[in-house]
């Protein structure tokens, strides 16, 4: 049996974090939680790998963009990331893309859309991995 995919949810709003984690667990994923960017980096270092990170932009201690930067610098640039944001402008999108975020979700999003994005990104990075493995 194929191992369950692991997802890390980084979000300071407890209701959103716990709710999303429940929905993704129901969807068949293993889910870890962090409530700010610094905690997220600790989780990633402890676990060594996640199949996907769902990352809120506006957080205390360390925001989403800083966290993305540090993830890239620490060699985790291949982990696909979904950014969650309440503010939404072209500048935000560009900032995310520059840092390699896969998908931007604007709050309030439909949890089904998030689930679709998760399925898509996890499938995508698998394919990319398989392709690079073939070479």
């Amino acid at each position: 049996m194929e191992a369950r995919k692991k997802i890390l949810i980084v979000e300071d709003e407890e209701d959103v974090r716990v709710g999303l984690s429940r929905i993704l667990t129901r969807g068949g994923y293993d889910v870890d939680q962090a409530s700010n960017g610094r905690e997220a980096l600790e989780r990633v270092r402890e676990a060594g790998w996640y199949d996907l990170i769902v990352l809120d932009v506006l957080m205390p201690v360390q925001d989403g963009y800083q966290t993305l930067d540090e993830l890239r610098e620490s060699g985790y640039e291949k982990i696909p990331v979904i950014l969650l944001t309440a503010k939404f402008s072209t500048v935000d999108v560009a900032k995310g893309h520059d840092r390699g975020a896969g998908i931007y979700m604007r709050k309030p999003f439909d949890p089904i859309e998030l689930m679709n994005a998760v399925h898509y990104l996890i499938g995508e990075s698998n394919k990319a991995g398989a392709a690079s493995g073939a070479y």
Partner: protein, 516 residues
């Protein structure tokens, strides 16, 4: 510029002949008086305006130390609010326009204007400058409003979107959850839905409050308010937050009897905002004091903490709506930035000021005053006392209204006798009666029946009854049986007497209307 006032003119002119002509034109007898000071150098003028106020400057453009339209700019820069009237020897239209662009109000050809015209031009220039300043101030105000609007959009979108996200998640969990709504998992989703609906509701109320405050439409419901009760209510309302933030809150009141005339709900909100702000913007372990003291005819209230304090720079800005204090190096803030603006607005609606004293590293104190409930000097006209076993009863007549005070236990055994005495007092003295239970230690069901009988008697005689100063345990009993909903009660004798006076006067008026 008013008739009869003296207009102070600074004449900057190096040619004595020209200066003489202007001075002569302005010192002719006229309904408007001018006081003129003349200097020959721009440097002198710049020195003088720093020391003395002037209403207008008349400026020659060919001075020993400055020539051309540039002269206007130099003077304008040194005194932006001073109207400038340029006097030139050889006027060309280009120069005139150029001086106006640089901030002059008008440009006149020397020696070519009638004295009356010169005087009029000066007055118009002063008026125009005043209007211009007014427009500039209005513009600043509009810019500030525009900033508020952008802040509003940015804060509100974030604060709306976050709970909305949680609500969508809870709905989705309910849709896909177990079929039984009572299932623990569904109950959690419902709680999450409720929490976030409340949060949205709170945001909407805050935004509405700010808009009412900004437009001066905040309405107060002034009532006699027990301030110690308010402080305890605030502490119990906030206890979950304070526990979470590990804050210790204590009440600093020396006297249990602190009563103010204010809008109780609004003052509760002011204190809630101040205390929750203190707990949210400081490290856990904070100590907060909520205090109240009599100060003359005012009640001073304060919220003090021993936290990190607020810098002078921030003190100027924290009352602006949507402004949020940011920790150094952080772009993140929690909340709407409306709490302090609302607190200040609500205190201001009471015609008081919310003061702030703070030093970084030492702590912060917010304070304001409220009108103390006035303790009227009530002149006693007649007194009668009875002692019946455990109950001492005193009936006193003040200002044609009766106060009956009970000391001890208001139990069934005395009541028949008491009612007879009360009936006598009502018929001989006045049918308007305050029943003062502040020193009554206990009451039973017949005692409550007695209060209602008193009321019925008073109404029979054409008056009415109010309750005053209930002891806490008695208040509890009366609240429980719902009596306090139907019988008006007041915190002080003075307030009760005032209320009865109002009522007796209005009933007299209405009965006059009926019988005439």
């Amino acid at each position: 510029m008013d008739r009869g006032s003296v207009t102070k003119v600074l004449l900057v002119e190096d040619d004595p002949q020209d200066a003489y002509l202007v001075t002569r034109a302005l010192t002719r007898p006229s309904e408007f008086e001018f006081a003129i000071k003349t200097v020959g150098w721009l440097e002198e003028a710049l020195g003088l305006i720093r020391r003395e106020p002037f209403d207008i400057a008349l400026l020659d453009l060919n001075l020993p130390d400055s020539t051309g339209p540039e002269t206007v700019s130099k003077l304008q820069k040194a005194a932006p609010l001073l109207p400038i009237l340029v006097l030139t020897g050889a006027e060309t239209e280009d120069i005139a326009v150029e001086t106006m662009r640089r901030g002059a109000q008008d440009c006149l050809l020397k020696g070519k204007s009638e004295p009356a015209v010169l005087r009029r031009v000066i007055r118009y220039a002063i008026e125009r400058k005043g209007l211009l300043e007014h427009v500039i101030r209005q513009n600043e105000r509009l810019k500030e409003l525009d900033r508020l609007k952008s802040e509003f959009v940015s804060v509100v979108t974030h604060e709306l979107r976050t709970p909305m996200t949680a609500m969508k998640i809870s709905l989705s969990m309910l849709e896909n959850g177990p079929p039984d709504l009572k299932h623990a998992e569904n109950q959690e989703s419902l709680q999450m839905l409720r929490r976030n609906t409340d949060r949205l509701m709170k945001l909407i109320n805050e935004v509405l409050d700010v808009s009412r405050i900004e437009s001066g439409r905040l309405q107060l419901n002034i009532q006699d308010t027990d301030i110690v009760g308010v402080i305890h209510e605030v502490m119990s309302l906030l206890s979950p937050l304070l526990r979470e933030r590990q804050c210790q809150v204590s009440a600093d009141v020396l006297d249990e009897n602190i009563y103010a005339q204010c809008d109780r709900e609004k003052i509760v909100q002011v204190l809630v905002n101040l205390v929750s702000n203190a707990s949210l913007h400081n490290e856990p372990g904070l100590r907060i004091t909520l205090g109240a003291r009599h100060q003359g005819n005012q009640i001073r209230m304060w919220v003090a903490d021993n936290g990190k304090g607020i810098s002078e720079e921030e003190q100027k800005r924290i009352f602006q709506p949507y402004y949020q204090v940011r920790c150094q190096g952080e772009t993140y803030t929690k909340g709407t930035g409306l709490g302090l603006a609302i607190a200040r607005g609500m205190v201001k609606a009471h015609h008081k000021k919310l003061a702030l004293k703070s030093k970084p590293g030492e702590g912060t104190e917010f304070s304001f005053e409220l009108d103390a409930l006035p303790v009227q000097d009530l002149k006693v006209e007649r007194t009668k006392s009875w002692k019946m076993r455990d109950l001492v009863t005193t009936a006193e007549l003040y200002d044609r209204r009766v106060r009956v005070q009970f000391k001890g236990m208001l139990f069934g055994v005395h009541i028949q006798t008491l009612l007879e005495i009360i009936q006598e007092v009502l018929s001989r003295w006045s049918p308007w009666m305050a029943l003062d239970l502040s020193e009554c230690t206990h009451i039973d069901s017949r005692g409550i029946g007695f209060l209602l009988e008193c009321r019925a008697l008073a109404m029979e005689f054409g008056g009415n009854t109010v309750l005053v100063s209930l002891a806490p345990n008695i208040k509890q009993v009366l609240l429980k049986i719902g009596l306090l909903n139907s019988v008006p009660h007041y915190l002080s004798l003075a307030a009760a007497m005032r209320a009865m006076k109002r009522e007796s006067e209005s009933s007299r008026k209405s009965s006059t209307r009926i019988f005439t």
